[in-house]
């Protein structure tokens, strides 16, 4: 998995690529939580359009990001979910817990 970050005003976009699994989900968790706690972004957007696979530990990292965002009163938005990623969120009944958008434009407009 690779993580790169873009910042515009108070919006932070994480561009993720590759698979998110137990080998690398701690890195994702750390990056997202650091952004929320230290930079206090008003909106954290996770671009999953280049992520083919996400396991339960990856979902757990996103849940932690969502909870931390709520604690700081910021938005936590996902977009570009692959079929596999959408299935995992549906199976875990978390799809409606997250704000999920189809693309970046939508995610920035929410």
């Amino acid at each position: 998995m690779q993580i790169s970050t873009r910042r515009h005003d108070k919006v932070t976009i994480f561009d993720l690529s590759g698979d998110i699994d137990f080998a690398n989900s701690p890195e994702l968790r750390q990056s997202v939580l650091r952004e929320i706690h230290e930079n206090r972004s008003a909106r954290v957007v996770i671009n999953l359009s280049k992520v083919n696979y996400i396991d339960s530990s990856g979902v757990a990292s996103l849940v932690e990001g969502l909870k931390a965002s709520r604690d700081f009163g910021s938005h936590f938005i996902l977009f570009g979910l692959s079929t596999s990623a959408r299935e995992v969120l549906q199976l875990s009944r978390l799809i409606k817990v997250f704000e999920v958008c189809d693309n970046e434009e939508q995610a920035l407009a929410v």
């Binding site: 698979d19 699994d21 339960s56 757990a60 932690e64 909870k67 199976l91 875990s92 009944r93 817990v97």
Partner: protein, 143 residues
């Protein structure tokens, strides 16, 4: 048979192999993804819980074709057995968290059970053995 260490770096290799195997056996795309996910989650559980994140412990996986008779018809499928040498695991205490609850963790078991027709745990000697079976949807007439 596939023998590997408990290093999470092998997860992506195993996923690629299982996805290809399930495609070859004729599972549809959704089932290929879900079986692959189940094996990945089962391996992760072994690394985390059986081996407490130690990366140099042995895991052995066996793959073979399975079949059963269902209402007079033969149903083919895939049996996957994962073996580890961790401490005795009490399968009765395994439970996932309530679905939809907003907290991290506890999803892996749900994903395994959702994907597979049979999920069985046993202990033989000093080996934990997790047996996963998935049958193809369409049965063929029994000979």
């Amino acid at each position: 048979m596939m023998a590997l260490s408990s290093n999470p770096k092998w997860l992506s290799i195993v996923r690629a192999a299982v996805e290809r195997l399930t495609e070859t056996l004729g599972f549809n795309a959704e089932h290929c993804r879900s079986i692959t996910r189940a094996v990945d989650e089962a391996l992760t559980n072994i690394v985390r819980h059986s081996y407490s994140n130690r990366r140099d412990q042995p895991i052995t996986m066996y793959f073979r074709k399975a079949q059963r008779k269902q209402e007079g018809e033969v149903q083919h499928g895939l049996e996957i057995i994962l073996c580890d040498r961790g401490p005795v695991a009490d399968a009765t205490k395994w439970r996932g968290r309530p679905l939809g609850e907003i907290r991290p963790g506890g999803l892996g078991l749900h994903l395994i059970h959702d994907a597979m027709d049979i999920v069985e745990f046993s202990r033989k000697g000093d080996i934990n053995r997790l047996r996963l079976v998935k049958y193809l949807g369409q049965a063929s007439p029994a000979a």
